[in-house]
Symmetry: C2
Subunit: 283 residues, 2 copies
């Protein structure tokens, strides 16, 4: 939902689109790989008219979202299990900050409103909309990869023997995230048993390869124009962190050894607990 | 530390700089507004030579970081309190993924290595380094704003009466995050009592205004070139979510009312629990 809201933000604030026009786009996307209950109702919410004003209903709904607490609870469990759930965490934070409307308005007064119009940063309107569709698909794959990894780890940690493929099928049949996407997830689990990383199995790998460039361009456009991108940027960061062959954690291990004598491993030797030639006593 | 590692990533992989050269830059930054123990030791870690190979030590340290669990614990408490701590969450996730080195290498094989060279995306080298310094400063302000907001809320929730200005002074005197920055935080608390949002008090507001553009350009460059930006992009998203006058949560409230009859507020009336003209029964 947060990712859909971010894409809506690019359409509304970046491209200046009206609700009816956006409704048509989401309805069209619902005939493609994004087909899902949430995309379907997004089209309906955007198309709905307000009985009082006669205008688009979405324009008179206050921009402060509530939450039941399931996102927060999932995030805490994921932290406890040591599995990244940064996309859920970003979505929870975004809802929380949306509710602080007075503070947002005060901050906007101090910092000025962002100039959100993206111009031709994403190409012409058709190109921009294609990029948004692909960005949402790529972001969704990374987010589901996190979610299924959390469940997989929970299943191991607590010996739950969760049938993750079956869970995908159950969700497919009746839950707000029901989507054609879950069919592919169920198939992936049926084919390969426990899927460590959903991004690494087909058809998700091929789809990600095809769409990651769009996710980069959409996040970049949002980032440059002040359109908040918490979930999409977290999804992209998850992908980039997950596939970087050489990370920057060597520097962090150097820092940790410097201040806390935590020791590090070496690229050229086995073993742990190597130390640098620091003359300073550990803190 | 994660933000420093991301800036190091841009220097190393985006600009092709060598450890000695990076050490000089961090040493120089330690004479400016970033002056802090972590910047100081980053310079020293980058300058250190490996006794075995004679080359830069940082190059032979394995890129898999450990963690003691304080980040995870802080993130869980922040979630429990309902206060965003997305930068800490991003840093915890980055450490966790760094430790999964075999999976990263396998994913890089499947997706290909990112072409991280940023070319002149950030201007010439001097301009790029200036942008990195400013990006780190802006990111740090947003991250500290989250951290102090968590402590402030904890203090209220548990009636701890935490003297946050004094805490800043204590950290200043002996802790790995000791930095000149904490002097300004202590002063801000002394001047204004409880600071709701550190981004909204001086000198942080003025510094953020001056540096947010650099943060945008650095995150954008990283995002476009596959240089992981989890913490810096989360910090920027936090700033953008905190100062957007009109969020996109109206769409989310529409969705929540559609599928769950959660009700919404209106922009033109007081009261809660308004509903849209949905014909579908709630799920």
């Amino acid at each position: 939902m947060q990712m859909i809201a971010e894409v809506y933000g690019v359409m509304r604030d970046g491209l200046g689109m009206k609700p009816d026009e956006m409704a048509d786009i989401f309805a069209r996307w619902n005939d493609g790989p994004l087909k899902s209950y949430l995309i379907e109702i997004t089209a309906k919410v955007l198309a709905a008219k307000d009985e009082k004003s006669g205008g688009p209903l979405v324009e008179v709904i206050l921009d402060t979202a509530g939450q039941k607490g399931t996102g927060r609870w999932s995030a805490m469990e994921a932290q406890d299990l040591g599995v990244p759930a940064t996309v859920i965490e970003a979505a929870v934070a975004a809802r929380g900050l949306s509710a602080q409307r007075d503070q947002r308005l005060a901050a906007q007064k101090v910092f000025g409103a962002a100039n959100m119009r993206v111009g031709d940063t994403l190409g012409d309107k058709q190109a921009a909309l294609a990029a948004l569709e692909h960005a949402l698909l790529a972001g969704k794959i990374a987010a589901y990869a996190q979610g299924f990894a959390v469940m997989s780890r929970a299943s191991e940690a607590w010996d739950w023997k969760l049938p993750l493929g079956v869970i995908a099928k159950i969700w497919r049949a009746g839950c707000i995230i029901r989507s054609v996407f879950l069919d592919d997830i169920a198939k992936a689990f049926a084919a390969t048993g426990n899927v460590g990383n959903l991004m690494m199995v087909e058809p998700f790998t091929t789809t990600l390869k095809r769409t990651e460039g769009s996710l980069r361009r959409v996040v970049s456009a949002g980032v440059l124009h002040g359109i908040p991108m918490p979930a999409l940027s977290s999804a992209l960061a998850h992908f980039d962190l997950s596939r970087v062959g050489r990370s920057t954690a060597n520097l962090i291990q150097g820092q940790r050894d410097f201040f806390g004598a935590h020791g590090f491993e070496r690229t050229d030797s086995d073993g742990k607990g190597f130390h640098g030639p620091w003359s300073t006593a550990p803190v």
